[in-house]
């Protein structure tokens, strides 16, 4: 929750702070970088927990019984491409190229929706294969790690969709491109976290 509030603060409050900043960076951009730094520790702790408990479950199903890498690989590709798409959208926003911004931003949002949907389907599928949240250590640490990442994707998608709505109404002129840039920084971070989670969880498939 704090992400959105931190970054969206000052949406229209620039008056009181129009004066100089000590570092050559906008307050909101510095804040989102700071928040991302903090989030690194959040995911580092979740990933560590997953690794510590890999191979420790006393009963199945185990990762090898349940994972099919195909769908999640597609989701991974989509998420990674969306990082490229949002850069294109930002370029459009900064140059005042409305069509470019709307096209690429729409694609980014679609990617976010696809990834989140993929994860909901995957959870549902695993649940029906007998992997409930508290079935074993693997299930609990898997659902907690990927679930919190998924929540970040959902939040980022909602954030980008809100900016898309603004952009459609013509409320994201070049001087407000920073609104998109901040959301994009967060989006890149969520992607980078997945680049670590994907091999650790799906490719290594430690026999827990």
């Amino acid at each position: 929750m704090t992400t959105t509030t931190a970054a969206l603060d000052h949406h229209d409050h620039d008056d009181a702070h129009a004066h100089h900043t000590s570092l050559p960076i906008d307050n909101r951009k510095l804040a989102i970088w700071t928040f991302i730094g903090s989030e690194c520790l959040f995911f580092a702790t979740l990933i560590s927990t997953y690794l510590v408990y890999a191979g420790q479950s006393v009963k199945g199903p185990f990762p090898t019984d349940i994972f099919s890498v195909g769908l999640v690989t597609a989701g991974t590709a989509v998420l990674l491409f969306s990082s490229f798409f949002v850069v294109m959208a930002l370029d459009g926003a900064q140059k005042g190229d409305r069509k470019k911004m709307l096209t690429w931003l729409s694609l980014t949002v679609l990617c976010g929706v696809f990834f989140a949907g993929m994860q909901v389907y995957e959870f549902w599928h695993f649940y029906h294969l007998g992997l409930g949240y508290s079935t074993n250590l693997f299930s609990a640490s898997f659902y907690t790690l990927t679930g919190f990442h998924g929540a970040h994707v959902a939040l980022g998608t909602l954030w980008l969709a809100t900016i898309l709505k603004d952009a459609i109404k013509g409320r994201v002129p070049p001087k407000k491109a920073l609104n998109l840039e901040i959301a994009a920084l967060y989006w890149h971070f969520v992607d980078v976290v997945w680049i670590i989670i994907f091999p650790v969880v799906y490719l290594m498939q430690m026999r827990s």
Binding site: T2, A16, L41, F42, N136
Partner: protein
């Protein structure tokens, strides 16, 4: 805004001026008002935690006592620790962050005023939620570190530890939001010319404290999520029968817990480093060494967590590493002590109340630090761990350190915050009663601990040599409570006095003393320019005066300040509802019970309203 209906002829500013006092304080985004509220609420919780301590001491006054039940005793010591750390010392520091940081760096507010208000309300609601557990007779009872598996479902059924897990989760949001806010504020909103190495030491201490918050709170957040999952969803993260490992809880807790100790003490160091130079009439000795020793303490603070776990049997290699890393921390801390003494050396010492408390801090903190180094020796620690020796140690650093420094800061900055001087005579009386009460309470605990008296015991048999030490501690605790009453009397007396404080009562070196006491809403009529460290002393020197002329209150014409907002409070209520739902939705369709979902929707709704709030920046005067 809900309460202000705009008359067609009424300007927005006029409408704002007509709001009631209550609405004004509920919706304010002014860092000074937020700071005062942090202080008031923290003092309220401090008194609650103090009363808990008094009941504990009354129960332990003599052997085999049955003043309270063992079950209630467990709740008392758990809530005493949790309250003093998260609801008293941290927010008392936050009071000074809020009120003083913008003034010290020459800014008109923090980087994100509404986020700042949200931090306050989330803290207040989280604190009330934690303490509401007493109303149900189910206060947390598993110790302030909530060791698994004792804090898990099997050994701690009922809502006791749910209150603790969820309460700390709520408080963590407040700390993280404030961490982002003050990190950004200090790095980006300094006055022109105020380079990093020209910042006052309290600003440095605050900056480094925020780094600790930002890097350690996410770890406890995850630990609390895992424990909550174990308790509410039946997962087995800390349940050995399912392959889980309770040691993971200890590691995660102390990876947070040890930096937390420095989150409590670094602001105190900063306050002392402001006060000593002013009352010695000479600059802080070894400024750069002070900056780097603070940074080094923070860095090492992340590499010593397992010294809390020597008795868990980690093996000689881990024990050696954590022993050595812990001993290493004595070096930067020693640098600080010697620099403070170097600041006093040859100075023209002014023995005012803030100086009394600052000197008391140095003496008491050294004693706490020395017993701390004793703990770093793993074999010795095995004898001391979980005894009253440890209780004595951390009260010397947390009360003798943090609380004495915060009190020094209160006397020092009170005239700036409220425009009135606290009484000197009562202040010195407060100091001496505090010192006597404090040492009488905690010094005997060293001996009780070395004789083998365990922590957290409900009672003890006679004849083990504990009786006298415990009686002394109890008498001391009530004496200490009396000293707090002296302080409260001082506050009331000052409140009723009509005598106004000047802008610069102490001959200060930092920017806050150049503006009226208390400051106007916009702080500085003109944005200050800084050309050196101890900027105001430089200005005085350049003007060839001992004191700058009393500043004339400006009219703030043309200065735009952010307007008030309801949304920080509404977001906080949404967050509270979201977490409370985790407990009260259980009988229904958890995790999608009505209270949780309502909280989630309210939070989301309020964040959107917040983001799109009309440009409410109002000129303070047209």
């Amino acid at each position: 805004m809900a309460t202000t209906v705009l008359e067609p002829t009424m300007t927005r500013t006029a409408a704002l001026a007509k709001r009631s006092v209550l609405v004004d304080w509920l919706t304010t985004v002014d860092h000074k008002k937020i700071g005062i509220m942090y202080g008031a609420w923290a003092f309220f919780f401090f008194v609650i935690g103090g009363v808990e301590a008094l009941i504990i001491r009354a129960q332990l006054a003599r052997p085999e006592a049955t003043l309270v039940s063992p079950e209630f005793y467990n709740q008392l010591f758990t809530m005493h620790g949790t309250t003093m750390i998260f609801l008293a010392v941290m927010p008392l520091s936050a009071m000074f962050f809020n009120f003083m940081i913008p003034l010290l760096i020459g800014a008109r507010d923090v980087a994100f005023p509404r986020l700042n208000a949200m931090s306050l309300w989330v803290f207040v609601l989280g604190g009330l939620f934690l303490n509401a557990s007493f109303l149900f007779g189910t206060a947390p009872n598993g110790g302030w570190f909530g060791y698994a598996p004792l804090s898990g479902r099997q050994y701690s059924p009922g809502p006791h530890m749910d209150f603790w897990v969820l309460g700390l989760q709520i408080l963590g949001i407040a700390s993280l939001a404030a961490g982002v806010n003050f990190f950004t504020t200090i790095l980006n909103m300094r006055a022109r010319g105020m380079t990093l190495m020209r910042m006052p030491m309290f600003v440095w201490a605050t900056l480094i404290t925020q780094v600790l918050v930002l890097l350690s709170f996410p770890v406890i957040t995850v630990a609390l999520i895992l424990l909550m999952a174990d308790r509410l969803f039946g997962s087995g993260f800390f349940v050995t029968a399912m392959g889980g490992d309770p040691m993971l809880w200890q590691h995660l807790f102390w990876v947070f817990g040890h930096p937390e100790v420095y989150i409590l003490i670094l602001p105190a160091f900063g306050i002392i480093s402001e006060i000593l130079p002013v009352f010695s009439r000479k600059p802080l000795f070894g400024y750069s060494a002070m900056v780097f020793s603070s940074a080094f303490i923070a860095f090492l603070g992340f590499g010593v967590w397992s010294h809390h776990m020597f008795s868990t049997g980690m093996g000689p290699l881990a024990d050696s590493f954590f022993s050595l890393a812990t001993m290493l921390i004595a070096i930067p801390t020693g640098v600080k002590i010697f620099n403070w003494i170097g600041t006093l050396w040859g100075g023209s010492l002014q023995f005012k109340t803030p100086m009394y408390f600052a000197l008391g801090f140095i003496a008491m903190f050294i004693m706490g630090g020395l017993s701390g180094v004793m703990h770093s020796v793993a074999p010795a620690d095995l004898q001391q761990t979980d005894t009253y020796f440890v209780v004595a140690h951390f009260h010397y650093v947390l009360f003798g350190g943090s609380i004495l420094a915060l009190t020094a800061g209160a006397y020092y900055w009170w005239p700036k915050m409220f425009g009135k001087m606290l009484d000197e005579g009562l202040g010195k009386f407060h100091f001496w009663t505090t010192m006597i009460g404090f040492n009488l309470t905690f010094f005997p605990m060293h001996f009780a601990g070395l004789l083998g008296m365990p922590r957290r015991v409900y009672t003890y048999p006679s004849g083990l040599g504990f009786d006298l030490y415990n009686l002394m501690a109890t008498v001391g605790a009530f004496f200490l409570a009396f000293s707090i009453l002296v302080f409260m009397w001082n506050v009331i007396k000052t409140w009723r006095s009509s005598e106004r404080a000047p802008a610069d009562p102490w001959g200060g070196a930092t920017l806050e003393w150049t503006i009226p006491s208390p400051p106007q809403e916009w702080n500085f009529d003109d944005e200050p320019v800084v050309t050196e460290r101890d900027a105001v002393w430089g200005m005085k020197r350049a003007a060839g005066v001992r004191m700058l002329p009393e500043p004339v209150a400006g009219d703030g014409k043309g200065i735009h300040m952010p307007g008030p907002s309801w949304w920080p409070l509404v977001v906080s209520l949404g967050i509270l509802s979201f977490f409370v739902g985790f407990m009260f939705d259980k009988p229904w369709a958890f995790p999608f019970g009505p209270v949780t979902v309502f909280g989630l929707l309210l939070t989301t709704f309020a964040i959107f309203k917040w983001a799109y709030e009309a440009p409410d920046a109002h000129a303070t005067n047209h």
